[in-house]
Symmetry: none
Subunit: 268 residues, 3 copies
């Protein structure tokens, strides 16, 4: 039972599970970020597409690098890669395994951001509202002094005075949003299918023994680092205790001999 | 198992994790401060830029110094730097390691402030609304007695009577805000990329052994200070108990001899 | 492990941390007080400045003395200062250390009050609205029978009939508020910089040994007081028990002899 507890504890503080936890937190953060971020379409023909592409591409890149930065596997992989060889030969399969583990986890949050933006559709409307043919929809306001191009660029701006309570604006938005959601579902479907098939097919091509060995070594590297830290904590504590006790004894002795300091001490 | 507990306890009360916690709290405080702070653009041509720059630059400096002030690493670093050498030689790598740890943590909160202000865009609108060419946008109010310069300076003031419900004001704000958000995302992208690449590349240039040694010593310095405080607490308690007991006995004796005080005491 | 618990308990009930807690509570109380306090500018030329200065200066003084009053360090410091010398010589460094600890903690709440009032700006508007040149702003109401001096004194009163929905009043308020916030940020910047630099530079000028000694003694004084209180509680309880038991025995004997009292007692 004690052995069980120890193992459970080790699984809890396992790098694998910590990394998974961090990934999930990052994914949730990306959703939260998207909902709190005040998306602000410029509604100007020449800026709409640029701004939308920026919001669609830059945050996923940021989230990806953030994932790389906070992932514990990154550190383990780099340590394994640059360590002096010593008596244990380097196994490139282990580095490859750690690298793919790092990559998979770092890609989760960016994917969530992209899917959330596509499902929500606001960015798609901002980017592609100019590409819609306005003749398909009825009720286009024509008493404004703007040309069609500039008018369609204003569709994403709900509060603009031209489109206040206009059913034309709503219809165009609905139409573009459909495409956006269709894209989102398709990407999600593709990803999940690739993942599931990859898991099903991969064992057929793997050498069973070497993959188990890789798993063993990646776990070993993780545990080694943790044990080093723990041993450092114990060793420093031991050493510091000796030094501090010596300092207090030193103070006591000095007093006994010369009574220079006014520091009293308990009589033994 | 006992040894494990001790280690776990030490990791929990580790300076590293406490410092990280303080940093995150400071970052959250900076977000909270920004949201509660009543940003108040003067809407006067000669003051707009000055005020905006002040709000953009001064609080991050304050947050940086606050980070330096509350960071436990600051104290440990200064103690290591100025201590008399004694029998343990000073290692400049340890001081450098502590300094970089302090700096990184202190820079988090200012960065969060700057990014939040850029994402929100209010300050950018206040600073750069005068630089926008008003002819790009339709619907500029022209029945006011103000020149263009003074008019554009009033764009950030929503409640001003000139721009009440004006779509011109909204269009200009949207335009400037786009730039602000683009700046914000770019800075974030740059920072994260530098951080991630730094983490990936740094181990390649480090001497593995010496970096582990530095980690050991920075941990030692932390533990030494804590143990000193603990030993002081134990030592003072021991000593104080002796003094207080002596005082009570002294009172008792005096009474026995001369019965001057009316303080009664229990008969043994 | 028992020793560890004892130490942990002592750190939890340490005077230092209790004092810090009280300070933070006082600071929060001062913010709460300011937000609930109904600031009420008289809007009369001769009273505006006086009232504002009062609100700006009197509460911080009250908060400072309140801080001195509730701070545990105050008591410890005074006890150390006035105690008879006995066998332990007085160390002025300890008194100085305790005094500076008390002062720092007592100054936190007043500073928070001053900064909050400056950031909010209402008091500044009340005090300095008369000093603004009204010609810089357009839309000054001129159909009122008041002179400029009396008119400007009415700027802080939002609900006054002269300035109802006036953009002139809002522009003047914004202008004065900018100065107020600039003052606030500058003071905060100065304080934090002095604090951070003080923490960085102070260890360079300190004699390492004597500062550790001071820390030891300030801790000792704290522990001594606590132990005295604990011993008094134990001692009085012991003595009181004896007296009460003696009384009951006396009652018992008297009752046995004369049965005057109806007081029952448990049979032994």
């Amino acid at each position: 039972m004690d052995r069980m507890k120890l193992v459970l504890q080790y699984f809890q503080t396992n790098s694998e599970s910590i990394s998974n936890g961090i990934c999930i937190v990052l994914a949730l953060v990306s959703v939260k970020l998207y909902t709190t971020f005040d998306f602000n379409c410029p509604c100007l023909p020449q800026y709409n597409k640029l701004y939308s592409m920026g919001v669609m591409i830059v945050p996923p890149i940021i989230l990806f690098f953030l994932g790389v930065l906070v992932n514990r596997h990154t550190g383990i992989m780099m340590d394994e890669w640059v360590r002096p060889i010593g008596k244990r030969t380097k196994n490139p399969a282990v580095v490859k395994f750690l690298f793919s583990a790092m990559l998979q986890r770092s890609l989760l949050a960016p994917m969530v951001w992209i899917l959330v933006t596509l499902m929500d559709g606001k960015i798609f409307i901002c980017a592609f509202s100019m590409g819609v043919d306005p003749n398909t929809f009825t009720g286009m306001p024509n008493n404004t002094g703007l040309d069609v191009h500039r008018l369609m660029a204003k569709v994403p701006c709900k509060e603009d005075v031209i489109f206040r309570n206009s059913s034309f604006r709503k219809a165009v938005s609905r139409y573009v949003r459909c495409y956006s959601q269709a894209f989102g579902w398709s990407i999600l479907l593709l990803l999940i299918m690739v993942g599931a098939l990859g898991r099903l097919i991969k064992p057929c091509f793997d050498n069973r023994g070497s993959s188990m060995q890789t798993r063993y070594w990646s776990n070993y590297l993780d545990v080694e680092q943790k044990l080093f830290d723990e041993t450092v904590a114990l060793h420093t504590r031991d050493f510091a205790r000796k030094c501090v006790v010596q300092f207090f004894e030193g103070v006591q002795e000095e007093e006994n001999e010369r009574e220079v300091l006014n520091l009293p001490y308990p009589q033994p």
